[in-house]
Symmetry: D2
Subunit: 333 residues, 4 copies
Amino acid sequence: MKPDASGAQIEAMTQQIAGLGLTPQVIKGEHQTVVAALGQERPGMAETLEIGEGVEKVLPIMAPYKRASLEIKKDRTVVKALGLEVGGVKVAMIAGPCSVESEEQIVSIAKRLKELGATGLRGGAFKPRTSPYSFQGHKEKGLQMLAAAREATGLAIVTEVMAPEHVPMVAEYADVLQIGARNMQNYQLLQAVGDSGKPTLLKRGMSATIEEFLLAAEYILDRGNPHVMLCERGIRTFEDHTRFTLPLATVAYLQEKSHLPVVVDPSHGTGKSSLVASMSKASVAAGADGLILEVHEDPKKAASDGAQTITPAAFGQLMTDCRRVAEAVDRTM
Amino acid sequence: MKPDASGAQIEAMTQQIAGLGLTPQVIKGEHQTVVAALGQERPGMAETLEIGEGVEKVLPIMAPYKRASLEIKKDRTVVKALGLEVGGVKVAMIAGPCSVESEEQIVSIAKRLKELGATGLRGGAFKPRTSPYSFQGHKEKGLQMLAAAREATGLAIVTEVMAPEHVPMVAEYADVLQIGARNMQNYQLLQAVGDSGKPTLLKRGMSATIEEFLLAAEYILDRGNPHVMLCERGIRTFEDHTRFTLPLATVAYLQEKSHLPVVVDPSHGTGKSSLVASMSKASVAAGADGLILEVHEDPKKAASDGAQTITPAAFGQLMTDCRRVAEAVDRTM
Amino acid sequence: MKPDASGAQIEAMTQQIAGLGLTPQVIKGEHQTVVAALGQERPGMAETLEIGEGVEKVLPIMAPYKRASLEIKKDRTVVKALGLEVGGVKVAMIAGPCSVESEEQIVSIAKRLKELGATGLRGGAFKPRTSPYSFQGHKEKGLQMLAAAREATGLAIVTEVMAPEHVPMVAEYADVLQIGARNMQNYQLLQAVGDSGKPTLLKRGMSATIEEFLLAAEYILDRGNPHVMLCERGIRTFEDHTRFTLPLATVAYLQEKSHLPVVVDPSHGTGKSSLVASMSKASVAAGADGLILEVHEDPKKAASDGAQTITPAAFGQLMTDCRRVAEAVDRTM
Amino acid sequence: MKPDASGAQIEAMTQQIAGLGLTPQVIKGEHQTVVAALGQERPGMAETLEIGEGVEKVLPIMAPYKRASLEIKKDRTVVKALGLEVGGVKVAMIAGPCSVESEEQIVSIAKRLKELGATGLRGGAFKPRTSPYSFQGHKEKGLQMLAAAREATGLAIVTEVMAPEHVPMVAEYADVLQIGARNMQNYQLLQAVGDSGKPTLLKRGMSATIEEFLLAAEYILDRGNPHVMLCERGIRTFEDHTRFTLPLATVAYLQEKSHLPVVVDPSHGTGKSSLVASMSKASVAAGADGLILEVHEDPKKAASDGAQTITPAAFGQLMTDCRRVAEAVDRTM
């Protein structure tokens, strides 16, 4: 309560708290009185209490996510899709081009990536693009090309789904559904993906707090789909020398709060191919359960995101380097 | 090009530019050479050129949006829906509760708001909520309640649509479709709203640049729907004393670059009812074409967003105060 | 406390709180226990308690600033220097070039500005520049030129002081000492300015929270100098279409929390001369007690900050326009 | 130039460029004309040209820092102070308490840190504090305590200097002068430290761009002091689960642009002791040349920054773990 809150205001607040089904408890300080509200917080309660007369601020104590919380589920989740396992001792590697361009391209790069140690293949069939005039992806045809690449290599297919009505189609071809950063709070999509029961890679929104990120995961978990990976892909800040700012403290923090595995995307996280290798090693050292990287035979000719894409040769070196770092933190790769 | 770029690299770059259908032009400086590329930029070109050997950086000159640009369409757009006009001399006022709670509630508040000078009625039937456990809105029933409020008052109904498959249903009841900040880059939704031809209020994403904002509008315009209003509702920054940071320089800047009308949302932009009146006056003084505000008979009991909601009495005072400011900048209200 | 905090941990915490001279009070909830600490918070206490075993987080209730607080001093401060008064009914106007270039220039522009309604003259003699190779100002000679302009016009001189050892010299010539945004947390400088007893314009750091801003003011007030004006000049965010983001909600929020007058700087806040007029009007409508603007006879030839500088003619129009807005919010100008 | 710039405006611009001693070159595109300006850019030129009539924007090509640039000095700088070497194969470790509390404390912790592998000792004698009511450090006495710790261990002393007039005194006792984040653009201080010729650890301002950071280093280098280390310590963003956001991509990016060694501060960068170990390992994997960490015998009793401070035992484990990561990236520690 405010320092000058009246006795009547404090009394009104205790009644309002009781009216919400909570137990009020009054703590009188020298300058200010605090009214504690004991019980199960429900969303919106804090903001409703905040506008009571004489209230200074409302400070919620418990985290609003439940199913994503390590307090509720103590053993760590391992998400599995074909040979891809994320959340165990082995650091998983998902790699591939930004966009699927042709069957030949995707099958050929998939073979290279498989040889070099990837267990997941990324590639966009539906592309969310800032401009309506940009290449929007090959859509269902692209999904078929990805399926052909899986056929040829056994790699698990990780690909983005952008709209609830596309979920059944994408789920038919893909092994892991990706929800992009721009859609992290597209709740219809989260629910549709939750209903599909498919392994899901949920990317953090570029201005989402960790609480919002875990609540977005909660939307999927709440529909009965436990196979959720969290992916840090960089946030929007004032920095202008990288495309986004990649905050690796997210990795250990998420692992403190949640049982869900954490993947890092250094390609989008930096936007610069010259920074991908060092940030991949840093991610592994920070404890990431997996990496997702953009790799293309000829980044200069990539249909999208060329500036942050590395070559298969650079990828091979990066795998070797990351494997050494993984071993230095008692993991494999 | 980098200072140490070789002649061969410069030559390769001119050929790459020519291969993209552009005209290269070489400018030799003392320390560095610049290769200009003349012609129509297409998305992705800059990033593809950026990874050429010897390239330091690529600097695009032209804005990537076309239909939203004031250079392409010189006369300002006025969006009309029933008695609501946004973009003319009169500053429009859209007001109402965050959520539609009951028919009685929405009809009653609509009558008050109409008397006090609003020409649009806002109210959520579909609510995007951070947590899956929050109240998600009355959905179609809520739309019917809004329609009843229009029936009773003639106010234009402004309400959010959250998924492409809901567009036909929402368009049946609403006069203006609102696209929320979290969905600013939900491209399927933008296209569906574009196809509907309905007046649309597009909210700026909380970490969207102005270019991204105008490109999102471009998605709607590009489907043949010219009735687009841009809405500044605050961005996410390090500031923690307000819910978001409301950057009013957006108003004049958007009006410099685009012919689309600009609306400001001081309720979400501040998150605090005590700051709504001053920021409403500031928005009008900055040149806003409209305001959208959260008003509820009893903010303490509002189903959502109570902390930033004002009472009808406060709204009446705010209208009087804003009208005086509007006149001081040669507008009416 | 954490949900799994043991009884011993809770007991240890109550003893630690008592050891700090505070009164502990235990509140047991269903899932978690809260330990309240009653008494006078001292800096560092919260962070020290936070690392106790079993502690989840520490939530301070009281604001850490005292002398700047409206709760401590209920009447609003009016800062006066010659004819400049900031904090009363009249909105003050401080204007002038970014840098003092010559005596002729500064005297001539001062006369124009005086005629057009300014009561304060700004102008940099010591210039903080990002690059060591930029023009650093005329220093003491510049101060003498400013004094000549005061002589000629009676305008109060507002000029930046950058180092504690310069305070006596600058205080000899200037009527108001300005502390720049980069120096908001230069504590030696704050104390030296506090000791000088001179009216002071304290600019908000470009990434300072409001609490940090008020604590910076507290450093000056705490040395016995009550003549402090707070100046919002824009914050650093991801926005790239303006030089900074100018958050006008700061004005009303500061006025809720503090008795100190609030000035806005739309020149630095936008970085674009075309946006200065609209943001000046918006600032006045938001309740600002004063404006500080960059004006130069020929912005193209200004020694610094030309892009955000307006001409005397534009300034004259802006004064007329702002005066109308001031009247619409029951002030004069 | 703008698409509608007239021939006369283009001609005027070429003359203005020539008047600045540069060589203009006109490039006519289909919709827009670009005027290139060849020659040595000087600060302020871009902003001056930007306000010419018909100008759309000015895009500088060359980096404004010179002495800090890897293009100017191709071999990497190694900064040495006693046994501390930063910039070579060995990753340096600087550790110690936030504040020097007593001679006994600092000597005792220094011995422990030396045994565990540190080569530098950090500890604040002058403390920049947000609040005037916080502990401000033991000042010269604190410096003497640090000197005693060096005497006892041979560790190089790294300590902050906050004001130009303190530089001679701090330089007498310390081996490395630290410039804090809040003072990164305190130009008088940068120059004084430059004049001292002492090895310097320059912390990045919490909202400084990389260009501003390197220009701050340039102020020191420009006074003839080449012994500069750059320190990434986290930036201010919207994230609220850590005290700051620690962007490790800075490490490799700075090493691409500059020959100066790069140190990371995971203590301030996260603000949470539980995240320090993972971010230390990540920093080493990212290529950092050194780490600076807060270590205290009993963080709960630390005079400041307890929440981000680790114990000597945790530090010992961290050294072991980081050494393994260092070897995995072909370095020692």
